[in-house]
Symmetry: C2
Subunit: 434 residues, 2 copies
């Protein structure tokens, strides 16, 4: 950032899309960030940059900005994004900002903040077009030209009755193609999807994805239209939910934690590992219980890793498939028996293949058929049980309305570790007559 | 489905959204499916139902339908969905259908099929609005009312020059608010994103998600506008890609396989388990190598499960975080060292906690401090190494442009199994002077 490069840089900055600027910002020092930021002329672009910054970057960035400057930018942003930002700020700063903002804007934001996290109310924007059902197409076009020039995404024209209740939906195209004096009531579509302010955002996303719509109107408990959730927010939700699912499955929190501190991440990942630790300790006591067998046939120990590993991996496959299937709606909890039966068949089939393979290795190494057979049977058993448990546990959690992604991981691994070790030693002790 | 219920049912069917009907279909027998299908009056709805059915259901369903009936429905569907269906059919049936279709439609479909799988060309629709840059707003509105009444999603009005090359974009709203005799050239926006027909669909999805747009225009190598990819397809891509990521990570294929046959699923899941089997067998030889130590201190074996389990689980957490981070763009391969260092710190911290815990259990059980200490050190080592390997391997694959989701899983588990077992026995042998 040499001094003489500034005019040139300024040009580039103002041509670059804010979404790209936010990437550049991440790799810059704080003072460079501020220099670049001051070069941006478009206040709306500054707003997008605000909402694209990650939490830590943003907090540092605004730490030494004047409240008035921050507010000036926030006032150009959609109110759902402002609510997001306000929520992340320390309370005193958030209050100060809300007080400094124009009354109308701050009220909008405070309204949004009243709704629960992850609900439709929280992510909706009040920028929608609501036309009266008794107006004509001509009147509607006129009010679009006057009142609604600023609306961000004007593709659905919602139609309301005299009390503001949602009654239908129309489109710009329809307005243009019907004769100008037709009242909206006559050509609007009454088959309009809507969600309540307290609907979970995941439900909203499913609705949008399922019916290929670009926005969902949000109504309050009186069916009064209060906002819309747009497809761009839905895309963010779908990505977040997928990330959440993936991370929950391995017990690494709900949000992407790489940007969090080491200590925070450790805390988040601790409990899941605790379950697995507990499983390991139980396995330890089981092996202790079979100490006599082990002291007679030391090399029993040598197959512990492969038997546990095969069980653990196929169990993870099964539970991952079921968890993802449930969350995308490709599987239903009512199909529990067919899904579990299928996974069990796959587990047995793969168990037979790998059991034979590992049995052959055992036989070649020790030339003890009874031992090789017990290793084989142990692999088959642990892989079948793992596939069974791995598919059944998330299904059961799903049925109990507990999030399968959170609950399955620790249960499945712990259980499989224990079962695999126990079966192995029990089978070997019986077959080798130890 | 009693006989007298049919008129009533027919009413319900025609009021229900096709996306919901497809769910009902899945749970019905073939003959009931056909009966219900015949009750649907809206041919467009039949089309949506076609594209929502899963592969097997669809193949069975159309097996005994007349070609003409199938074609009649396909002709009402968007051509990208038809291409999808045609591709899934056996070749002779596909050819027959293409021949029976109207020439214009079948050409559109064949054009799409020429593009590679998962490219923008393959998922684009030719239903876009292209206005000439020298036309006025008034002329544009007129051509919308005449030529473009059927366009599915008319929110972007693309502007082209006399050769059909994409030069800008406008909107219905702009047409309505400017004075009628302004030429498009003067008020269109020239900052228009576009992709090439051979752009990967994942790139298209990222673009749409990143810039919050509702459709991307697709151009050929001459910059001529040939189609658009709409946001509803992007949502499907994002969900598919997330599912793909999740399944690849555990070696369960690329697509959701629960609807596939047991044998097919077994084949898909086989290779990943093979890697883990190999790791287990190597671990077995390592333990064999330490047989002398093991025969002296039998209970060494008892801690194998917990040491392997802790390493395996934290390794999975690290690699999952990195793989997801890379695929959502929250992590970059250039940050390899900071990411790996952070994961290593977390691994060491958690290793210290769990190492002490498990060491205490060992001490309480056997009252042999040297043994307890070696168990502790083994846990710390295996968890640190696992976090290191789990984060580094996907980063390296990412840098080599190999999909981290596919490659990391087997490598990471195999490697961690081996390292954990080796460190444990090596440390114990040294500390206990075996």
């Amino acid at each position: 950032l040499r001094r003489n490069a500034i005019p040139h840089l300024s040009k580039i900055m103002n041509k670059t899309h804010a979404a790209d600027l936010s990437r550049i910002f991440q790799s810059l020092s704080l003072s460079h960030q501020h220099k670049l930021f001051d070069l941006i002329k478009d206040i709306e672009k500054k707003g997008i940059l605000f909402s694209e910054m990650d939490e830590d970057t943003f907090l540092y960035f605004i730490a030494d900005m004047k409240i008035e400057d921050i507010v000036a930018i926030l006032e150009y942003m959609p109110s759902d994004d402002v609510a997001d930002i306000i929520e992340r700020l320390p309370e005193d700063k958030a209050d100060l900002i809300l007080k400094t903002m124009k009354k109308k804007e701050s009220e909008e934001v405070e309204d949004l903040l009243r709704y629960g996290d992850d609900t439709a109310g929280r992510i909706m924007v009040p920028d929608f077009i609501a036309l009266r059902e008794d107006h004509t197409a001509q009147q509607a076009i006129e009010s679009l030209q006057k009142e609604y020039v600023d609306v961000e995404m004007p593709f659905y024209l919602y139609v309301v009755d005299e009390y503001g209740k949602l009654t239908g939906v129309s489109s710009l195209r329809q307005l243009v193609v019907v004769s100008p004096d037709t009242p909206l009531k006559e050509f609007m579509s009454t088959a309009v999807f809507s969600v309540r302010t307290d609907t979970d955002q995941e439900e909203v996303a499913k609705l949008v994805a399922r019916y290929d719509i670009l926005a969902v109107p949000v109504v309050d408990h009186m069916n009064k239209l209060v906002g819309i959730v747009t497809v761009d927010d839905v895309i963010d939700i779908i990505r977040e939910e997928a990330t959440e699912d993936i991370l929950k499955m391995v017990g690494a929190g709900q949000e992407f934690v790489e940007t969090k501190s080491v200590f925070k991440s450790t805390k988040i990942r601790f409990p899941w590992l605790f379950a697995s630790c507990l499983g390991g300790i139980i396995a330890f006591f089981i092996i202790g219980h079979f100490e006599k067998s082990l002291s007679k046939v030391t090399y029993l120990a040598a197959f512990i890793p492969v038997i546990m590993g095969m069980g653990g991996n196929i169990g993870t496959q099964s539970s991952t498939i079921v968890v993802r299937g449930l969350s995308t709606g490709l599987l239903h909890v009512r199909d529990i028996w067919s899904v579990v039966f299928k996974e069990l068949s796959i587990g047995m089939l793969l168990g037979l293949i790998y059991g034979s393979l590992i049995g052959i290795v055992a036989q070649l190494q020790y030339n003890l058929p009874a031992f090789a057979v017990s290793v084989s049977i142990a692999v088959i058993t642990s892989m079948s049980v793992a596939a069974l448990v791995g598919s059944m546990v998330p299904m059961i959690f799903g049925r109990l309305n507990i999030d399968p992604a959170v609950a399955s991981g620790p249960f499945v691994t712990t259980f499989i570790d224990i079962i695999a070790v126990f079966c192995y030693f029990q089978i070997a002790t019986l077959l080798l007559e130890l």
